[in-house]
């Protein structure tokens, strides 16, 4: 079962997205800010990271940049989660090394298809 690190400060979004992804068969680890996200990425080495961009302590762009510069974590795909119509946010996300982005509110089907793209068919959602 693939492990996904979800970095999200909003409690409801965190709860909602983690429960829906768990239902699809993924193992979810939660982080509430960028700093925690970087630490968990290093210690757990998840298969994929879903990174919200507006985070307290350390924002998503900075956290992504660090993860992508560290040797042990730079291979981990990061999908940036940005607000609707914030094209600039998406652009910046790609610039710091994020592999893809998806806009909030989350369209679960669309997000799942992106996740599957990175994790391959060996981990089909259950």
């Amino acid at each position: 079962m693939a492990r996904i690190l979800l970095v999200e400060d909003n409690e409801m979004n965190r709860d909602m997205l983690s429960r829906r992804l768990e239902k699809k068969g993924y193992t979810i680890t939660l982080a509430v800010d960028g700093e925690q996200g970087v630490m968990l990425a290093q210690s757990l080495l998840p298969e994929l990271i879903l990174m919200d961009m507006s985070l307290p302590i350390m924002d998503g762009w900075e956290a992504s940049r660090i993860i992508k510069t560290m040797a042990q974590t730079q291979h981990i795909p990061i999908i940036a989660l940005t607000a609707h119509a914030m094209a600039e946010d998406r652009q910046r996300a790609l610039e710091v090394g994020c592999d893809d982005y998806d806009t909030k509110p989350i369209d679960l089907l669309r997000l799942l298809s992106k996740i599957q793209l990175f994790l391959g068919s060996q981990e089909p959602p259950g």
Binding site: N13, A83, A87, P105, I106
Partner: protein
């Protein structure tokens, strides 16, 4: 020759005398001409002394004295030529010459007196009396020069008439001077002709009147004698006397004519000067501005009433006052606001400005008056200054600038308000969206649970919550977009876009909505299209807006999305045309279709939903990307919306360009 006062000889022995009238007339004329010349010369002396040309004045004085003296002398001897005596007479040369001396001196005294700028009665009296005495002396000396040639000539004088003759000379000479003086004092009110003629005649009659009165006092007697014939050598006969007298007369007449001409010229010049001066004064007075002229020593030469009104502190503005005195007085009296409290400093600065005037400046006067001062140095003349009251102009200017300030403040306020409104909308939208996302997200979860293993009866209700939530979210997003556009914070990101790919994506998204109203969605994309360099998100949103509108307002109809290449004003671009055969719009509705918050009518919102912002946002997006949007519609028949975008977007109208 013997002179006696009348000694009681028998008057029957008196020689019979008569006069040749034409020569009498000539003698009076010569006397008058000489008087005229002398009085005119006195005027010249005055003028020369006024100009401080003392050398010239002395020459004039000498010329005048000689003329008058010669005049009196010539008058006397012309009169003597006019006298017909039964005895041949000649004149003793030395006495004849000597006779001119007292009268020339007396004339010099008179000329001196007459040419004084100010005269008192005593001065005039002395002048007149000396002149009268001079005339008398001349006469009796001249008479003494007379000798009989073939007979001894005896003259005796009747005392009363003798005295009378002297009185006539003194009185008329006095009268002439008094009249001349009186006329000079009232030169303006006396006609020029009489001003010249009256004193001239008085003086002329003083000379001739004296002579003929004296002649009336004279009794001639003859005695046969040969004793005097030895003097003939030193005597003037009638012919040579006539020659001398003619010479003197011609000289006097010439001088008189010359004086007349000179005088008339001078008079004319003076008149013209006075005229031009008075014209100048009138002109200066007539300007509405304050005028002042200072000479090279900075003394006031000329100014008008307006200047006095401006600068007078109550002590009066007088010709000859210095510039510094005038401005200092004004400053000290508090007339000039800038100078209050620092008079010395201000005056120093003002003087510097006055000495080297460059550009006009404005002074604020007490009583809220603004005066524009223009000063000019005029070479060799001094400084000309014009003071213009620009209070009205200044008041208008102040009012205008106040109004502009207020307008600027109002504009800034409006801008602040607008910015605050946009910020508020952006924040509110964000705050609204977070719970909306939660509502939508949890509803979807519940739906999934219900579909998997829950109660299928609640599925329709959950679906209603979901669709309402999504609708509300889309409204919030549109409001956010518009507020960002209006705040100038909507950025555009340009990238190369494959048009068919975008169209496929948009059609896939919209197809469910089109299907809902049983519409046929047709895409016409007949030619290979070039890539377009534009903002992908906004292009998608524009097309989705048009297609969703077409889907909403059309039932069982046909919706066509046609994409073609099209150049507008020689710029290559792509035209996206969405045509439906739905409810359409009236012309009035179509005209307002891109305005914010307007739908065809308020019932539209109830029936079809939407914010009325979709087309407004679409239009703004088009403009930001350098494109245009247009609509053609007919009520009941359908609408066609066309978007044209350039292949390459230049500088956007608002917002920042990236990529």
């Amino acid at each position: 020759m013997n002179h006696y006062f009348y000694d009681g000889r028998s008057l029957q022995d008196t020689l019979v005398t008569s006069y040749q009238p034409s020569l009498v007339f000539l003698s009076v004329t010569v006397a008058c001409l000489a008087s005229y010349a002398a009085l005119s010369v006195a005027g010249r002396i005055k003028a020369a002394e006024k100009d401080k040309a003392y050398g010239l004045s002395r020459i004039w004085l000498l010329a005048g004295a000689l003329t008058m003296g010669a005049g009196v002398w010539a008058m006397h001897f012309i009169a003597m030529l006019a006298l017909i005596l039964p005895v041949h007479v000649s004149y003793d040369v030395s006495i004849t010459a000597l006779s001119t001396v007292p009268v020339v001196i007396a004339s010099a005294v008179m000329m001196y007196v007459v040419s004084r700028p100010r005269n008192n009665n005593l001065g005039l009296f002395i002048g007149g009396t000396v002149m009268g005495a001079g005339i008398g002396t001349m006469h009796y000396l001249g008479m003494a020069a007379m000798v009989g040639i073939d007979q001894n000539l005896i003259m005796s004088y009747e005392p009363t008439l003798f005295v009378t003759s002297v009185i006539v000379a003194v009185a008329l000479a006095n009268l002439a001077l008094i009249i001349n003086h009186a006329i000079e004092r009232k030169r303006d009110s006396v006609p020029l002709f009489w001003a010249k003629v009256v004193p001239t005649l008085a003086m002329g009659f003083a000379v001739s009147g004296m002579h003929y009165t004296a002649m009336a006092a004279t009794y001639f007697f003859s005695e046969n004698s040969t004793a005097v014939t030895g003097d003939v050598k030193n005597a003037l006969n009638h012919e040579s006397l006539a020659l001398w007298v003619s010479f003197a007369s011609v000289s006097i007449t010439s001088l008189a004519i010359l004086m007349t001409v000179v005088d008339r010229r001078l008079q004319k010049a003076a008149q013209e000067e006075a005229m031009s001066r008075s014209r100048m004064r009138e002109a200066i007075e007539s300007i509405a501005d304050g005028f002042s002229l200072f000479d090279i020593n900075d003394k006031l030469v000329e100014c008008n009433q307006r200047y006095r009104e401006l600068m007078d502190t109550g002590q009066g503005i007088l010709i000859g006052m210095t510039f510094e005195h005038i401005v200092r007085s004004a400053a000290e009296a508090g007339l000039i606001l800038d100078a209050i409290g620092n008079v010395d400093e201000w005056v120093a600065e003002r003087l510097a400005k006055h000495r080297a005037p460059r550009e006009q400046f404005i002074e604020q006067f007490a009583g809220g008056r603004w005066i524009r001062v223009t000063e000019r140095r005029v070479w060799n003349l001094g400084t000309v200054a014009i003071r213009t009251d620009i209070t009205e102009l200044k008041d208008t200017e102040i009012e205008l600038s106040r109004a502009m300030d207020e307008a600027e403040k109002a504009r800034a306020n409006a801008e602040d308000t607008n910015r605050a409104k946009s910020a508020f909308l952006a924040n509110m939208s964000h705050e609204l969206r977070t719970p909306m996302n939660a509502i939508i997200g949890y509803t979807e979860m519940l739906l999934e649970d219900a579909e998997d293993d829950g109660d299928p009866r609640i599925i329709p209700d959950l679906q209603k919550i979901l669709s309402s939530g999504k609708h509300l979210l889309s409204l919030i997003n549109e409001i956010l977009d518009l507020s960002k556009i209006e705040a100038g914070k909507m950025d555009i990101y340009l990238e190369n876009i494959d048009v068919p790919e975008v169209i496929q994506d948009v059609v896939n998204t919209i197809r469910p909505l089109a299907d809902k109203n049983a519409n046929t969605l047709i895409v016409e994309c007949p030619e290979p299209l070039p890539t377009i360099h534009t903002d992908l998100t906004k292009l998608r949103q524009e097309l989705l807006n048009l297609l969703s509108n077409a889907s909403k307002f059309t039932k069982n109809g046909k919706i066509v999305l046609a994409v073609t290449r099209q150049s507008v004003k020689e710029i290559n671009g792509i035209l996206f045309r969405v045509t439906d055969n739905g409810i359409g719009m009236s012309k009035e509705q179509a005209d307002r279709v891109f305005d914010a918050f307007t739908q065809a009518d308020s019932s539209t919102t109830r029936k079809y939903g939407g914010t009325g912002l979709g087309l407004t946002i679409t239009k703004k997006f088009c403009e930001m990307m350098g494109g245009t949007i247009a609509v053609k519609s007919e009520l009941g028949k359908g609408s066609t919306f066309s978007i044209w975008l350039p292949l390459r977007t230049g500088k956007p109208l608002r917002g920042n360009t990236h990529g």
